[in-house]
C-alpha cells in the first residue's frame, strides 16, 4: 500500500480534483434551482481559453482568472435565459453550448494566435503554487495541500460555503424551494426566474474558475477541447452526490484519485491512451453501485412487508 500512495499521487489527485470540483459545485447550484446543467464541459473550456487570453494580455494570473470568470459568466447567459425566460429545452441548449464552446475556442485560437491544437507562450503567467512549509511534511494532507494553487483552496472553501448557504441560510431555503416547488415559491413572492438566472450565472463564474485551473493551474497551456470529458464527470459527480456539496466532493475525490492513479499506471509502462480511461470506468462502476444501493434501500421494506399472496407492491411512503 505504501508503494501505491506516494506524495506525488496525493498531490496530483488533489490537483486533478480541483477543476472537477469547481464545475460540480456549479452543477449543484444549477441542479438545486431546477436547471439541469450539462454544459459544464463547454463552460469550462470557455473559461480555460479566456484564462489564457487574460493572462497573455495582462501578464498576470489574476487577470487570467478574472477573464475566465467573466467569459464563462457571459457564455452562461445562453443557458440562464434560454432555459428559464425563453423556456427552451435545457438538454438541447447544453449540447449546443458544448459544441459552440468547442468551435468558438478553436476559431478564436486560430484567429487570435494563429495556431491550432495547442497554444503556450512565455507571456502567459500561470497560477502560483502556494507553498505551506508547515504542511509540507505532514503525511497525506501535507502531500495534497502543501503545494497547490489558490483555486484548489478556493474549491474546498466553496464546498463549505455552498453547503452552509444551501442548508443553513434563508437564501438557501429559497434556492431549494425554487428548484423543488417553483409554484409554491412563486406564491410566497419569490421571483423564480430571477433566482434561476442569477444562480446559473454565478455557477457560470465557478466553471470559469474550473477552466482557469485547467489552463493556468499546472502548465500554462491551452489545448483544443482540453476539458476532455471533465465537465461530464462533474455532471456525473452531481448525480452521484445527489446535489449535496459534501457528497459531490466525495465523488470528485474518487475521480481525482482515479485520474492520479492512471498517471501512476503510465509510469509502470501502460500506454496513456489506456490509463486515461480510468476515470470513466470508475464513473460507470460508481453509478452502477449507487443505483444498486438505492434500489436495495427502496426494495428492502417492500420485501419485508411482502405477505404471501400479496402481489401488489405497497407504495413506499416517503414521509
Amino acid at each position: 500500500m505504501s508503494g501505491l500512495i506516494t506524495p506525488f499521487l496525493i498531490q496530483s489527485a488533489v490537483q486533478a480534483i480541483t477543476p472537477i470540483l469547481l464545475a460540480s459545485l456549479a452543477g449543484v447550484l444549477c441542479g438545486r434551482v431546477g436547471v439541469f446543467n450539462m454544459a459544464l464541459e463547454g463552460q469550462m473550456l470557455v473559461g480555460a481559453f479566456a484564462a489564457i487570453v487574460g493572462s497573455y494580455y495582462t501578464h498576470s494570473a489574476a487577470g487570467g482568472v478574472a477573464a475566465a470568470m467573466l467569459a464563462a459568466l457571459i457564455f452562461s447567459l445562453i443557458l440562464a435565459y434560454g432555459a428559464t425566460v425563453f423556456r427552451g429545452d435545457a438538454v438541447v441548449i447544453c449540447i449546443g453550448m458544448n459544441l459552440l464552446a468547442s468551435g468558438l475556442t478553436a476559431y478564436l485560437l486560430r484567429v487570435m494566435f494563429g495556431v491550432s491544437g495547442t497554444f503556450s507562450d512565455p507571456a502567459i503567467v500561470g497560477l502560483a503554487k502556494i507553498r505551506i512549509a508547515a504542511l509540507q511534511d505532514v503525511p497525506i494532507i501535507g502531500w495534497g495541500f502543501g503545494r497547490q494553487t489558490i483555486l484548489t483552496w478556493a474549491a474546498w472553501a466553496l464546498v463549505a460555503l455552498v453547503s452552509v448557504v444551501l442548508f443553513k441560510t434563508p437564501l438557501g431555503l429559497r434556492l431549494r424551494g425554487v428548484g423543488e416547488q417553483p409554484d409554491a415559491a412563486e406564491t410566497l413572492g419569490i421571483d423564480v426566474r430571477a433566482y434561476r438566472v442569477v444562480t446559473v450565472l454565478v455557477a457560470g463564474a465557478l466553471t470559469g474558475l474550473a477552466g482557469a485551473q485547467l489552463s493556468l493551474g499546472a502548465v500554462s497551456v491551452f489545448a483544443e477541447d482540453m476539458s476532455a470529458g471533465r465537465g461530464w464527470i462533474a455532471v456525473v459527480a452531481v448525480m452521484l452526490g445527489r446535489a449535496n456539496p459534501l457528497y459531490v466532493a466525495a465523488a470528485c475525490a474518487l475521480f481525482g484519485f482515479a485520474d492520479a492513479f492512471s498517471i501512476r499506471l503510465q509510469s509502470q509502462g501502460l500506454p496513456n491512451q489506456l490509463t486515461d480511461i480510468a476515470p470513466y470506468v470508475v464513473t460507470l462502476v460508481a453509478l452502477v453501485i449507487s443505483h444498486r444501493r438505492r434500489m436495495r434501500a427502496i426494495l428492502s421494506p417492500e420485501i419485508a412487508a411482502a405477505t404471501p399472496g400479496g402481489a401488489a407492491a405497497p407504495q413506499p411512503d416517503a414521509h
Binding site: 441542479g31 431546477g34 439541469f36 450539462m38 445562453i78 435565459y81 434560454g82 425563453f86 423556456r87 427552451g88 429545452d89 435545457a90 438538454v91 438541447v92 441548449i93 449540447i95 449546443g96 453550448m97 459544441l99 459552440l100 468547442s102 468551435g103 468558438l104 478553436a106 476559431y107 486560430r110 484567429v111 487570435m112 491550432s116 470529458g229 461530464w232 455532471v235 456525473v236 448525480m239 500506454p271 491512451q273 489506456l274 486515461d276 480511461i277 470513466y280 470506468v281 464513473t283 460507470l284 453509478l287 452502477v288 443505483h291 444498486r292 438505492r294 434500489m295
Partner: protein, 343 residues
C-alpha cells in the same frame, strides 16, 4: 432530474424557423468573421462555391456519407425521446473491427468486405445496446451511460493501434493496410459504394419509421413514453433494440470510412471531423424526424465541405462552420421555447 427531453422541444418545426435560424447564424458568424478582420461576404461566397459548384458536388456527397450516417445514428433514438451521445465510441469500434477482419480473414475480397461490414455493425450495435442496458438495468441515464462508454472504447482502440496492431512499416499509430480486394468499390472520383449503402439505410430507416409497427411504437414512445408502456410496448426491450440499431449504423459508418477511403484504421482519424456531433445537431434540428434530419445532415455536410474551400481561399478557419451549426441549434432550441409559451 429532468434528463430526457421527453417533451421534444423541436417538434413540429416549421420551415421558416429553420430559415430564420440559418439567417441569424449567418449574421452572428459574419460579425465574428468581420471582427477578425476578414470579409464575411467573401467567406460565405467561398462556402457556397466550395459546396455546390458542379465540380465540388462529389466532395460534398463524400463528406455527407458519414455525416448523414451519424445523423441517422442520432435520429433513431431521438425519435423515441432518447439521446445517444456515444456515437464516437460506436463508430471507432466499427472502424477498428472493419480493419481487423480483412487483415486476418483470408478469402475472396467481396466476401471479406461483407464480413467486415457485418462484423463492424454487430460489434458497434452490441456496444450501443450496452448503454441501453446501463439505463434499463442499472438506472444510469442513457445520456450519461452512452457518453461514458464512449471514452473507454476510444481509449482502448487507440492503444490497440498504438501497440499490438501498429503498422510497423510506417511507425504511425495505425493498422496495416486492408487488402485491396476487401476495399469498397469506387464509383467515381472520391465516391465509393459506401454512399449507396448509407442511402439505402436512410431509405430503410424512413420506411421503418413510416410504415411498420416498430416505427409506430418508436414514435409513440417519443410522444409519450408512459402511454407507449401502457399500450403494451415493452419499453426495456425496445430501448435495447433502438440503441442496437443506432449503434449498427455508427459501426457501418466507421467501417465505410476505413474500407472506403482510408483503407486502414488510423488513430483519431474517425473522430477529428466530429461527424457524431454534427449528426446529433442535424437530428436535434428535426427532433429525430428522419426525413428532416437527413436534409439537415446534407445541409451541414455542404456547409462543412464549403468550409474547406473557405479556409483555402480566404484566411477564415473552417471551424467557423462548427460555430454556425451550434448557433443554428441554439437559436432553434430557444426560439421554439418562445413559441411554446405563446401557444
Amino acid at each position: 432530474m429532468s434528463a430526457a427531453p421527453q417533451a421534444g422541444v423541436l417538434r413540429r418545426l416549421r420551415p421558416p424557423s429553420g430559415a430564420i435560424a440559418i439567417l441569424f447564424a449567418a449574421i452572428v458568424g459574419g460579425a465574428l468573421v468581420f471582427a477578425s478582420g476578414e470579409n464575411p461576404a467573401e467567406a460565405y461566397a467561398q462556402i457556397l462555391v466550395g459546396a455546390l459548384a458542379w465540380d465540388n458536388l462529389p466532395n460534398t456527397l463524400n463528406w455527407a456519407t458519414p455525416l448523414v450516417g451519424m445523423t441517422l445514428v442520432a435520429s433513431i433514438p431521438l425519435r423515441a425521446g432518447m439521446i445517444n451521445l456515444g456515437g464516437d465510441g460506436q463508430m471507432v469500434i466499427g472502424g477498428l473491427v472493419a480493419a481487423i477482419i480483412p487483415i486476418y480473414l483470408p478469402g475472396p475480397g467481396p466476401m471479406v468486405a461483407t464480413a467486415a461490414l457485418l462484423g463492424a455493425a454487430v460489434a458497434a450495435g452490441l456496444y450501443a445496446a450496452l448503454a441501453a442496458w446501463g439505463e434499463t438495468r442499472h438506472g444510469i441515464p442513457m445520456l450519461i451511460s452512452s457518453l461514458m462508454l464512449s471514452y473507454p472504447a476510444v481509449g482502448i482502440a487507440s492503444s490497440i493501434v498504438r501497440f499490438p496492431m501498429r503498422d510497423t512499416t510506417t511507425g504511425l499509430p495505425q493498422t496495416a493496410l486492408v487488402p485491396e480486394g476487401a476495399r469498397l468499390m469506387t464509383l467515381s472520383g472520391p465516391l465509393n459504394v459506401g454512399l449507396i449503402l448509407i442511402g439505402a439505410i436512410a431509405l430503410l430507416v424512413l420506411f421503418i419509421d413510416r410504415r411498420t409497427v416498430a416505427g409506430f411504437e418508436l414514435r409513440m414512445r417519443g410522444t409519450n413514453v408512459r402511454f407507449a408502456g401502457y399500450g403494451g410496448v415493452r419499453l426495456d426491450a425496445q430501448a435495447m433494440r433502438v440503441m442496437f440499431s443506432s449503434g449498427t449504423i455508427a459501426g457501418l459508418v466507421g467501417a465505410i470510412i476505413v474500407l472506403g477511403s482510408q483503407f486502414r484504421f488510423i488513430d483519431d482519424a474517425l473522430l477529428t471531423p466530429a461527424y457524431t456531433w454534427s449528426g446529433l445537431m442535424a437530428a436535434l434540428l428535426a427532433n429525430g424526424e428522419p426525413a428532416g434530419a437527413i436534409l439537415a445532415g446534407l445541409f451541414f455536410a455542404a456547409l462543412q465541405t464549403g468550409g474547406f474551400a473557405m479556409q483555402r481561399e480566404t484566411s477564415v478557419p473552417r471551424v467557423l462552420t462548427m460555430v454556425l451549426q451550434s448557433i443554428v441549434i441554439l437559436f432553434l432550441a430557444i426560439r421554439h421555447g418562445v413559441e411554446k409559451v405563446r401557444g
